[in-house]
């Protein structure tokens, strides 16, 4: 069997290609982006005609994947954890429609918020939706679980969630691959009303979904992804979910844990296994790389049973990613760390690249806003969010994809005029268009900057759905032609840009200003490729 050196994300992608994938749908988001990128770069995927293009947002991606499942083929949809909020309407209801062709939803969580606004745990979504969930402990399991997940999805006609975290997504190791499977043929659902969620049908399907929980639990008991590992010391029974198991065994020589361990990789968790651990052990320690979900369930509201240790009683920190030291301390071990870093070391936060067009756009905006005072710029998710920090300190909000325009509407309604929104081109087509329509319909006095760097920059330069379409979209939504202004954010045009910004800030209606200059990173990459192509010609 072929062994490849793969990131967790790449292992999932290769697993999907090998398991007979027909299409993958996604919107870029750290730490999930590399799954789609791997399929896009894969020659196998191309020769097998696997559909692999970015979607406008996670909801459209989720729905397209569901459509492919309807047609009987295997589909995967990938997103970061907060992307699941965007896709939630489709995701939750997909449990009730069920699947036809295998459907895997990959949610990449980011405990410790390395590149995110929160550390929500996608296991909650799976439980909330009655969708089975797989949580790999390593890259090999991630690969294998894709195969298993597609089979499970088709066997029980239900979408399956694969939940990973940043650490697994962005860690590389050797992965053994299986033989490639053929893709499914088109095959319609046996019941052509399966996907019609009229109340009368939805009620019936919902009861079927509830009834599926027993076979799903049985699957989780038999698949091998949940393991009961008997130990000789019964003073603590340990529940270790996903990656937490690695951190647990890291603390013991030869990885031999003296305690009984229930290793969790598949949900819903079989009650029989949980019960056995509880009965056998004097106390319980729960290790979860995310929210204390199992811990809360086990403890109950009144906490009148055996002692349960974990994040809720402070044995493990309440927030943030786990690591071997945290788990060692939770086990009462003495941890010796290295010497402290010297005090003269300073923080080095990320910042906008040298030569980035956003810099020039915000310098012009700052000057244009001087007469109104600071504190009126609502922004969004992207590289430009870094303009909140020194030296620019231009923006005053970053909440969720698309919130800039709509928050500006509300603030303007409250009397904060002019209110400004600053949103990137890719974020605009992700979730900004509907907000702009609201602004037009309200005739809100807002100035919307669509910072167009012609790519999805923060995640590494993926194709932007907005490319070449921004003005047309704004016109189509109803923004007046004379208030759609395109700028070139360069130092030499600073005075002119400030003047245009001032004109539009003074306008008592919706204006859209589009500072447009290609992302310096994608530009450099394009130039390098061009130079390479040229030398090859010679």
């Amino acid at each position: 069997m072929q062994k490849l050196l793969l990131l967790g994300d790449e292992a999932i992608a290769q697993g999907a290609i090998d398991a007979g994938l027909s299409g993958i749908y996604a919107y870029p988001g750290t730490p999930s982006t590399e799954i789609m990128e791997y399929v896009q770069a894969s020659k196998e995927a191309r020769s097998n005609n696997i559909r692999a293009l970015w979607s406008a947002n996670e909801k459209t991606a989720m729905e397209s994947a569901l459509g492919m499942s309807y047609a009987g083929k295997r589909a995967m949809v990938c997103m970061k954890h907060v992307g699941l909020n965007v896709a939630a309407d489709a995701f939750v209801n997909s449990a009730i429609t069920g699947a036809n062709g295998g459907l895997i939803v990959v949610a990449a969580d980011d405990p410790s918020m390395h590149s995110s606004q929160n550390e929500q745990d996608s296991r909650f979504y799976a439980k909330f939706s009655f969708i089975p969930l797989l949580e790999p402990a390593n890259q090999q399991e991630a690969y294998d679980m894709v195969h298993y997940g597609f089979d499970l999805s088709e066997k029980l006609r239900i979408p399956v969630m694969l939940r990973i975290t940043t650490r697994l997504a962005h860690s590389r190791t050797g992965v053994v691959c299986k033989a490639q499977k053929e893709q499914n043929e088109i095959k319609l659902p046996e019941n052509l009303r399966q996907f019609v969620l009229l109340p009368s049908i939805a009620r019936k399907q919902y009861r079927e979904l509830l009834a599926k929980q027993i076979p799903l639990e049985n699957e989780a008991a038999q698949s091998g992804y949940n393991q009961f590992l008997e130990g000789h010391d019964k003073s603590i029974g340990i529940i270790a979910c996903g990656l937490a198991y690695n951190y647990l065994i890291e603390n013991y020589a030869d990885h031999k844990v003296p305690f009984t361990v229930l290793r969790i990789g598949q949900y819903p968790i079989p009650l029989s296994m949980m019960n056995r651990l509880y009965e056998e052990s004097e106390s319980i320690l729960v290790l979860e790389d995310g929210y204390p979900i199992i811990e809360e369930l086990l403890k109950g509201m009144l906490n009148k049973g055996k002692t349960i240790h974990g994040r809720l009683d402070g044995t493990v920190p309440r927030d943030g990613e786990l690591n071997p030291n945290i788990v060692g301390i939770a086990l009462g071990m003495k941890i010796e760390i290295g010497v402290d870093a010297p005090a003269l070391i300073t923080n080095r936060p990320p910042k906008l690249c040298d030569g980035c067009g956003h810099n020039d756009a915000f310098l012009a905006l700052n000057e244009a806003l001087d007469e109104y005072g600071r504190g009126r710029v609502f922004s969004d998710i992207g590289c430009y969010t870094l303009s909140a920090l020194e030296p620019l300190e231009s923006i005053n909000s970053c909440v969720d994809m698309g919130a800039s325009i709509t928050m500006a509407i509300g603030a303007a309604d409250a009397g904060l005029v002019p209110a400004v929104a600053a949103i990137g081109d890719s974020t605009f087509t992700h979730s900004g268009i509907t907000g702009l329509l609201d602004a037009v319909n309200n005739n809100s006095p807002v100035t919307v900057l669509i910072l167009d760097n012609s790519t999805t920059g923060m995640t590494g330069g993926q194709t932007s759905s907005a490319y070449g379409k921004v003005e047309d979209i704004c016109r189509g939504v109803g923004v007046a032609e004379e208030h759609i202004r395109v700028l070139k954010p360069l130092h030499k045009f600073h005075e002119e840009n400030v003047r245009i910004l001032k004109e539009e800030l003074a306008y008592q209606g919706v204006s859209v200003i589009i500072p447009r200059r290609e992302c310096i990173q994608t530009l450099n990459r394009r130039m390098r490729q061009k130079a390479k192509a040229k030398t090859m010609d010679i």
């Binding site: 697994l168 962005h170 860690s171 890291e250 990885h255 071997p324 290295g338 870093a341 003269l344 990320p350």
Partner: protein, 193 residues
């Protein structure tokens, strides 16, 4: 055999190519390997690190436990000190002395070097200058890799093979430059241990 390595630098400085070379050489020697990388926001000029673990037996955690790293390899002097809590008491620091100043409050260079030289085991080198002598300052990270090579527990032959595998598509010149840079870094380290 186990070898736990922290790679440190600033986003965009190319620590992942050092990691790739070590990783490839480790595969050549049939070692187990785990390498936790940093992608996303921090890559925009922020402090970045990668945990690289090599072992002859299965590796559990993707992250190196604090206080257990054998080696900090850094392409930037201040970044080499940031990860001291990760380093074993007898661990080695191998770092370039060339600062990457993209913040207004970068510490005084003299004080910084004094801090590094206070540590029990270190190699500090002017990787940019050595790389220039080899033909291009772009190979500075390979000079640092070379300087770290005596502490990796990997053979020189495996590292050279890794360079061919990774840079082969960029042409013979690039392979030759990187191999020269690795050797120059190694020679410097061996003369200064």
């Amino acid at each position: 055999m186990t070898k736990d390595i922290i790679l440190a630098g600033v986003g965009g400085q190319g620590i992942l190519s050092i990691a790739a070379c070590i990783g490839m050489a480790a595969l050549e020697e049939n070692l187990h390997l785990k390498q936790a990388e940093v992608h996303g926001m921090s890559q925009r000029g922020g402090a970045v690190q990668s945990h690289l673990r090599l072992a002859s037996t299965e590796i559990a955690s993707d992250l190196i436990p604090e206080g257990k790293a054998d080696l900090v390899i850094s392409v930037e002097p201040m970044e080499s000190l940031r990860y001291l809590p990760m380093l074993k008491p007898d661990g080695y620091i191998v770092t370039s002395m060339n600062p990457f100043v993209n913040i207004p409050n970068y510490p005084d260079m003299e004080l910084l070097l004094k801090e590094i030289w206070k540590q029990p085991k270190y190699i500090t080198l002017d990787a940019d200058e050595i790389a220039r002598e080899c033909g291009s300052v772009k190979a500075a990270n390979m000079v640092v890799l070379g300087a770290a090579s005596p502490f990796l527990g990997l053979s020189n032959a495996s590292l050279e093979k890794a360079i061919v595998a990774i840079f082969g598509s960029k042409g013979e010149d690039v392979v030759a430059l990187n191999q020269k840079a690795i050797k120059a870094g190694r020679d410097y380290a061996l003369a200064h241990i």
